[in-house]
Structures are given as C-alpha cells and as structure tokens.
C-alpha cells in the first residue's frame, strides 16, 4: 500500500513538474514572440510541447510560430493537434481558420504553372 501511495505522489509530481516546465517555456516564448524573435519563440514552444504533449496552448503557439516562419505544413499539423486537444477553444479555431484562409491563397498561387523565362 505504501509503495502505491509513493508511486502516485511520484507520478503526480512528475506531471506537475512537466506542466510547470511547459508553462515556463510558454511564458518565455510569449515574451520573445512579442519582440518578434520567432526563431527563439518556436524553440520555446517546441520545448513546451515536449514537456507537456497534452498542452493545447503550447501546440497552438507552436503552430503560430511555424506559420510565421513559413513552415506551413508544420503549422497545420500543430493546429490540428491543438484542436484535437481542445476542440472547443474559440481562439485556436479562429487561428486555424485564418491560417487556412491564408494557406488557400498560397496554394491557389502555387498551383498555377510557373513559366520558364
């Protein structure tokens, strides 16, 4: 019984530490994103998703950073994951809708044949 209780506390402690680490990475990511340092923000949001893969905010923020840096496939994947984790979040859905709108424009342009000069 004592072993079970110890294991429970160890497990919840690890989860709390993961959440705490993820939150700290997100906080720092937000600060650098505000300054336009998207490379660093992306790194922080990636760390946040690694620390807590169930954190929808981290996935959303990673998606925004990837979109800003031009990795549209990566951004779509991260938005999908964020919406999977929090399907009713209006902010994530709004980001995703705007991303899709812009991505559709890009794809329409890329589909056109590019002539050889």
């Amino acid at each position: 019984m004592r072993t079970l209780v110890t294991l429970f506390f160890l497990a919840s402690g690890a989860a709390l530490r993961a959440e705490d680490s993820s939150a700290r990475q997100i906080d720092f990511g937000l600060k650098v994103a505000q300054k336009g340092l998207w490379q660093e923000a992306r790194f922080r949001f990636e760390r946040a998703t690694q620390a807590d893969p169930q954190n929808a905010a981290a996935q959303n923020n990673l998606a925004v950073a990837l979109e800003q840096m031009g990795d549209f496939a990566g951004a779509r994947k991260a938005y999908d994951k964020a919406l999977e984790l929090k399907p009713d979040d209006a902010y994530i859905q709004q980001n995703y809708d705007l991303f899709r709108e812009a991505d559709d424009k890009r794809n329409r342009k890329n589909k056109r044949k590019r002539p050889q000069p």
Binding site: A33, N60, I92, Q94, K109, N110, Q116
Partner: protein, 248 residues
Amino acid sequence: MSVSCRLAIAGALAAAGCSSMLEVPVDTPLQSKLDVSGFRRILIAGFVTDLEDSDVDLSAETSRLLQNQLRSNTQLQVLEPDRPPLQTALETALEKIGEGGSYSKDEKDQFRLEADRLLQDPEFWRKMGEEYQQPLIVAGKLDFESQNRSGFQPDERVVRTSTGQPSLVRGSRFLERKGFVLSADFFFIDSKTGELLHKERFSEEVLYAEDQRISPLSSYFELMDRLLPNFLGVLTPQRIRGTRVLLR
C-alpha cells in the same frame, strides 16, 4: 461558425480582460505568380478599350498608373514610350475599318476581333520586343462602365407597438444607387518569343447613393486602387498580414 463571428467572440473575450491570450501580428510570404527574374525591363504596351466615348481615357490612365506602380514596387526598368505601341497598331486597324467618330455595331465587332487577334499574335509581340530590347510586355483589355443599381433592398426597422413595446418590422425599401464596374484582362507576354506567359482577369465594382456626386475618374482611381495589389502580386512577392492569438 464563420471566421468573422469567431473574431467577434475572441475580440469580446479580449475586451473582457482575458489575460491568458496575446494577440500578435503575423506576416507570411506569398510568392509572385510569375517568375520575372529573366527580364530586366517591362513595357506597358497599352490596352484595348471600347470604341464608345468615355469620360476616362482608360488606356492612357491605366498605362500611366501601372508604370508608376511598377517603378516603385519592382526592380524592373519601366520603359516609357511616347505612345503605348499597342495603341498605334490599334489605330492603324481602326483606320482600315472606317471613318472616325461613330461606329456601327459591325465595325465595333470587327475592331474587337482585330484587337483580339493582335493580343494573341506572337509575331506582333516578338517584333515589339526587338524594338524595345525584349522586355516583359503587359497589355490587355479594359472596360469601365457606369451602371444603374437602383432597386428594392431588404430593410429592418424597430417600431413601437400600441402598447409601447419595440417590434422589428422587416420590409423592403427602394434605393437609388449608381455603380461603376471596372474589368481588366491583363496579358503578360514574353517579347523574346511573343508567347503569352500569363493572363489575369480582374473585376471590381463600386456603388454610390444617387445623391453622391462622384466623378467617373474618381471612381476609376478607387477601383484601380483595389485592383493594383492583385496586379502587382503577379510580378512581385506579396505579404499576407494578419493577427494570431498566442495562449498562456
């Protein structure tokens, strides 16, 4: 739920002082439709317009406006011939069709056919290319017309009932409105080969209340102002600007 609806909800949440979100600007690249790296010069050759009398000299105004925009928004050297070369060719074609002034329907159709033939004639463009050191050529067709858009529009009013309660009444109301429509077909031609590289059609419309006194020229510039980013997007990379929400 529409994007605008979601934006409204998100805006309302933000206005309510929700500190768990942060709105940030994003700016992503949008490639140009044409790769113009093989060209050093660009020539606005002129535009085919209707033979009707118009308040706006469409071809001249558009050529001048595009030249200015291309000078400030591209690296290409913008050629400025004294007269748009397509105009000279069109006038020659017109002389063969009939006397100046008013034209019959048949003559207008004949002119339109001849203009279309010129626009699609690689030899014509190749010769022009030789004359102007093989630039990228922009030509096309333009149409600008006023339209009467008066008619019944759905209308909603709040009225007080006999008991003083507000009530929504739906109906329709006659609105006198006029509009201007600008349609443009732009042809982007490689003058080395005379081949058409790309063709783009734009159409823009603006409506005014009947009592607004807007000159056709002002309307034309308003519509061109809307159309220009799309025109430039064919030749130069554009940016898609927007905002996204970061979450805590």
